[in-house]
């Protein structure tokens, strides 16, 4: 078998079947991980409760998805963030790809709510063969004059209510206003709390179930070695564009799903590591400040550095 000899190419179906097999394993692993870590996260919550500003520190060293995400006022609000909790709420029997993020706040100057919870539900659609996270916009009860989203969140809630009342295809006044407000808001002024407005692609539960059923049928056909019908891809790609354009036209914070995934898959499991890293960064920057100011105080700072040097390397 020489390298130059052209062999017949592997069929798309064979690769699709393999990818599907691996995807099923990934889902099973997420289910198992959830089972193994459930109690550990409860234990962690109790320990974290004794560390002041734990989550604020964690977000200081969060991955690039959160770069520039928090504006100045958002930051002061994060200091009131008492607790964060991620749950794959459809488990053990449902889809491990759906999850909820619960934010628990202390009394603060911005809103009345103690808890804000946002659910991200995994949905797939036959239209365009796409998948994504859909979500309900979450109402925040702002204190007078303290709405950080400058009305954007309330407008999304209004448009969402209209859509649910059957006005999905109508270009209502609220929709026009929302569209204009999105266009007029500079990215630098967009509060992170607009994240709670995210709705995602318009895939209904019925479409999702239909897509799952179709996928399972294909899987059975492939397992039985029977030919699987080709999806009409040309049409599908147009449907996909429709689906996303329609959704993102009224989405003031389209990065919300990527950030939610980043919380669920990186920040939430790695929170302790990120916290220790933030502590270390603080100490290092203290040292740097010191170098600029006064070399003689090095000994005091060395004492302060003690906790970070105890970080385990193994």
């Amino acid at each position: 078998m020489s390298a130059d000899e052209e062999k017949p190419l592997v069929s798309f179906e064979q690769l699709a079947e393999l990818e599907d097999d691996f995807e099923q394993v990934d889902l099973e692993l997420t289910r198992y991980q959830d089972k193994l870590t459930k109690d550990l996260y409860v234990k962690r919550e109790k320990i974290i409760a004794n560390i002041p500003h734990f989550w604020n520190s964690v977000f200081e060293v969060a991955p690039e998805e959160f770069e520039h995400a928090f504006k100045e006022t958002d930051g002061s609000l994060l200091l009131s963030l008492k607790n964060l909790f991620v749950t794959r709420f459809e488990l053990p029997n449902g889809d491990p790809r759906s999850f909820s993020i619960k934010w628990e706040f202390e009394e603060n100057e911005f809103f009345e709510d103690k808890v804000l919870e946002k659910k991200f539900i995994y949905r797939q659609s036959l239209k365009g063969d796409v998948s994504g996270l859909v979500s309900e916009p979450v109402k925040i009860n702002w204190k007078a004059g303290k709405d950080l989203t400058n009305g954007l969140l309330d407008l999304v809630l209004k448009v969402d209510a209209e859509d649910k009342a059957g006005k999905g295809d109508e270009e209502t006044d609220a929709k026009k206003e929302l569209k204009k407000k999105i266009e007029d808001t500079p990215l630098g002024d967009l509060s992170f709390f607009t994240w709670f407005a995210f709705r995602g692609p318009r895939i209904t539960e019925e479409e999702h179930k239909e897509a799952l059923k179709k996928e399972e049928e294909k899987r059975q056909l492939r397992k039985a070695g029977k030919p699987v019908e080709d999806d009409e891809m040309e049409e599908d790609e147009e449907d996909e564009d429709d689906l996303f354009d329609k959704a993102y036209e009224y989405e003031p914070y389209p990065a919300a799903d990527d950030q939610a995934l980043c919380i669920a898959e990186d920040i939430w499991p790695d929170a302790i590591k990120l916290y220790l890293q933030a502590q270390e960064d603080d100490i290092l920057s203290d040292f740097e400040d010191l170098d600029d100011e006064d070399e003689d105080e090095d000994m005091d700072m060395a004492d302060k550095a003690e906790p970070a040097s105890k970080k385990r390397k193994a």
Copy 2:
């Protein structure tokens, strides 16, 4: 409980215990993943065997760890790479962190070997509380005048044999020569095949077992709520420096362990995705070339693009 009130800090031991609990879960998950994917990888191997230059394409779009890793001649050798296989060979009962990478080559102009296998064994040490991957240098039977490592690999093999013969602390002629050759070799001339020379930190199996035993004792003490003795960290940090300096002085390719981890954790599980990405990149660059040359041929290229547009998005 206000945010400004300073609460007592959580002890290092509490965080260490938590981190240890999560680490144990990670190990268990890797074990389970290995079990679930074993047959799938065998199935994948059979499909890949029918795709010419599969692994060469995969390495074209490999993560940043492999940027500039392959020199021009390495590249032509990669075209002879018939198969790659990663095995966590200590499983089901041993450590999931140890793995082997097996490279299978077609007849080529550079060496006689059909298979080159390199094992990376997870070891930890009480000295400096460090862990790492240790490995044996792998002999390559170069054809006359074809040694891509310019003698570096053979020198490492010689030094390694001397060390095993008890000359570990002696500065032998071979060691002097190796050190000089490492210093004199520009990074741009360093062949990827020097990767096979990697030895890693000098942690013996005995040290490793001792460290595991100590770790288990600490774990039991923590579980029983008893105080765990403090490691003398000052001394440990010096030991750690010794351990790594000693190893890397005679290591012509110190990035080998990071690249090995990248293969085992990213390239190996994501190979199909990377291959499809490489195909798509090829087609896109064909389109770009075409734009420069002749706009009229667009229709032909659209046909050629068909396979990539069939990539599943869901």
